[in-house]
Amino acid sequence: MLRKLLWLMPFVLIVAGIGLLTAGGGASRPQYLIGDLQGDWGFPSPFGHNPRGPGYLRVSFLFDTLIWKNDRGFVPALARTWEYQKSPPAYVFHLRPGVTWHDGQPLTAQDVAFTVEYFKKHPHPWVDLRPVKQAEVIDPQTVRLVLSQPYAPFLEEIAGTMFILPRHIWQQVEDPRRFHAPQATVGSGPYKLAEYRREHGLYRFEAFEHYYQGKPAVPEISFVQVGNGLVALKGKAVQAADVPPEAVKELRGQGFTVLVQPHFFCLKLLFNHRKFPQQDLAFRRALAHALNLPELVDQTLRGHGQPGSPGLLPPDSPWYQAPKTTYPYDPAAASRLLTSLGYQRTPQGWAKDGQVLELELLSGPLYARAAEYLKQAFQESGLTVRLRQVDHSILDQRVKNQQFDLALSGHGGLGGDPRIIYDMTLGPLAAEFLGGYQPSPALARLLTDQLHTLDEARRRRLVAQVQEQLAQEIPSLPLYYPTWYLGHDGRIPWFFTKGGIAKGIPVYFNKMALLSAPAPASSP
């Protein structure tokens, strides 16, 4: 008898527990959870977060910048208005009065000036302050940032990305990366940090009552790690998560809202420009013609993607211009180009001087399927390609050291300022992104010019020319832009930030969607 009771005990406890839990849950505020597959993106302070986009994103809820973006363009944030002075090139920002930090201290121009100096002293992967010569405090609500030369991406990359730090907290901090005390999360943003659990990837944000744009309409918002976004969303364990494309119809049928993420990520075929025949333009063009990009998208992405544009920028980018030079699937053209290089088609493949052409294609595990497709496609046009799958870090290494023939590599950031093309082609990361490619003088000049052209119309023309040039030279071949989907329960009006959040983070979670009142009209 006693034994039977002992057996019943655990069940009773569990049922009681579930009952208590649901009862307890009802009394508290409704929660909003955003599910993320990776979970932990670092400690949520301006220097503690993981350098990649999602790390920055989480901190953006706690810290505000001078200006921000909504779905149409720049909007005021900490700065009420701003203007540009031609000589010396400088931006003057007029801050809003009455802004306080989470701990109650007032925010002044001193904090902005301090932030600029601090970021200059402690380089941050997201904010490159080299174009800024100095910051001058004109009065407690006005600050002037003087540049060394006209810098077109300034508004987006610096004013719209640099988190303003509270001077009274950070001026004593010598090692900002290891500063993980609670004060490190004190910012001027709409939310305060309520809880951070690294192993759960849990970031719990509570609304900041004295936020200068008014208390946010959503009292609490959290990020948490999930094993399967779709499962968690359908099971109502989270309210927003990335979902696989196949689930879109079913989710919409069940009343969920599914948003399409603009295509800012690109998978590219890299060539080793130190080797022959990759360094020959005709060869690269032959390979481009040998690929049926729409079919690649159909086969490897189940149709959820867009074929790559040889000008690199995707059609969703505000700077996109369709290049006139294109490479449609044309095996005959590919054959012609290869023949022009001196190759002859033999039963074993393309051969020159008795040597059959054979190349090795490096790929990481993520793009295994695309690599398989490419191998087969090239095989059909007579080109022998060996597949080799390595870790992503090893792949990056080998690309950097130019120990490869062909490689598959992907990256994002294509929605933001076109400066990224400059960085990729001429900057220090060029070796990784383009495999040792030396841009033609024309291209180099175009890229540098667009960086310093402030007239938007003129800059747009220059960037269009850059894309045309890239299409002609194809230093790397953009293969596709995958389509990603976000599913959510419709409670929050998430919108897509024009060009991506801050420097181009292609996610929907712009903190402005959480505020009650819409932001006022933007300044010039």
Binding site: L230, P244, E246, A247, E250, Q299, R302, Y373, Q389
Partner: protein, 290 residues
């Protein structure tokens, strides 16, 4: 001559084929299952027309006459993946089992026959080695050394010799104590002769048992590794199928033909090996399970 101990579970006597089947139902059942899976692995690629690497259909097709298990997320036939995955797992498992048994035999026999410091240190090594959790160390290795099939076989073999060595050695010691062995040694029999004539026959059942156990553990480890993403990308594997299938678990009924078949295949293979092992074991002696 065997060491035969009459114990619970020993049904001795008649060894006719059907008599044996009736007397060892577990072994019989396990053997049937294993045979079925072996046939699938060996004959499958010839009988079934599709290559698992080819894009033979549209992605995520449900089962049909053309594709009995449908297609995966890029249009490859799932049944073909299952068949080739069977080959991979069995290849690796059997290879590791074989290597393990050979190594155990070598080490145990040498430890028993040579004795002395060598025997002693082998046993200490075995005891210490058995304390290492295999999955964790293999994970450590394949995190750094890319998991190609030969690497997997080698890494898994690292943990397949210790258990067998201990069992074989203890049985070997018993055989050594037998009068006829002492006599043979007194008459100057060489080590290989002793090994062949006297020890091996007595060790056969344990060798087979050990082989089964190690093969089973190797298949289990290999599929766990594959599930965690550490598999040879050029070979299809059950664990990888299960991992991909999990991603689509919440999507309608995909899990029925994507997740269930490899899970069943894996489960049945392991269970069949366990059944045969258990049946053979209860025939000989429970305490041998050490």
């Amino acid at each position: 001559m065997f060491q035969k101990k009459l114990l619970i579970g020993d049904r001795g006597g008649n060894f006719s084929r059907f008599g044996a089947a009736r007397r060892y139902p577990l072994v019989f059942l396990g053997a049937i299952l294993l045979a079925a899976i072996l046939i699938l692995a060996l004959a499958g690629p010839w009988l079934y027309p599709y290559d698992p690497w080819e894009y033979v259909g549209k992605p995520l097709e449900p089962p049909s006459l053309a594709h009995p298990l449908g297609t995966n997320d890029v249009g490859q036939d799932l049944l073909a993946e299952l068949i080739y995955g069977t080959r991979t797992s069995l290849e690796i498992g059997l290879a590791v089992g074989l290597i393990g048994v050979l190594l155990s035999l070598l080490l145990s026999l040498s430890s028993v026959l040579k004795g002395g410091l060598w025997g002693f240190s082998v046993m200490r090594l075995v005891d210490a080695w058995l304390t290492i959790p295999p999955l964790l160390l293999v994970l450590l290795i394949v995190a750094f050394v890319p998991p190609r099939v030969p690497v997997l076989i080698l890494a898994l073999s690292l943990f397949s010799w210790a258990g067998g060595t201990r069992i074989l050695r203890s049985q070997g010691l018993e055989i050594k104590g037998e009068l006829y062995v002492e006599a043979a040694r007194a008459m100057g029999a060489s080590v290989p002769y002793l090994a062949r004539r006297h020890f091996l026959p007595g060790l056969y059942p344990l060798i087979i048992l050990s082989f089964l156990v190690q093969t089973r553990r190797a298949i289990l480890l290999e599929s766990s590794l594959a599930f965690l993403g550490l598999a040879d990308p050029q070979h299809k594997s059950w664990g990888v199928m299960i991992q991909y299938g999990m991603k689509f678990m919440a999507l309608g009924d995909y899990w029925v033909w994507w997740l269930l078949p490899p899970a069943l295949a894996l489960g049945l293979t392991l269970v069949s090996l366990a059944l045969i092992g258990f049946g053979l074991e209860s025939r000989f002696e429970p305490t041998l399970r050490s």
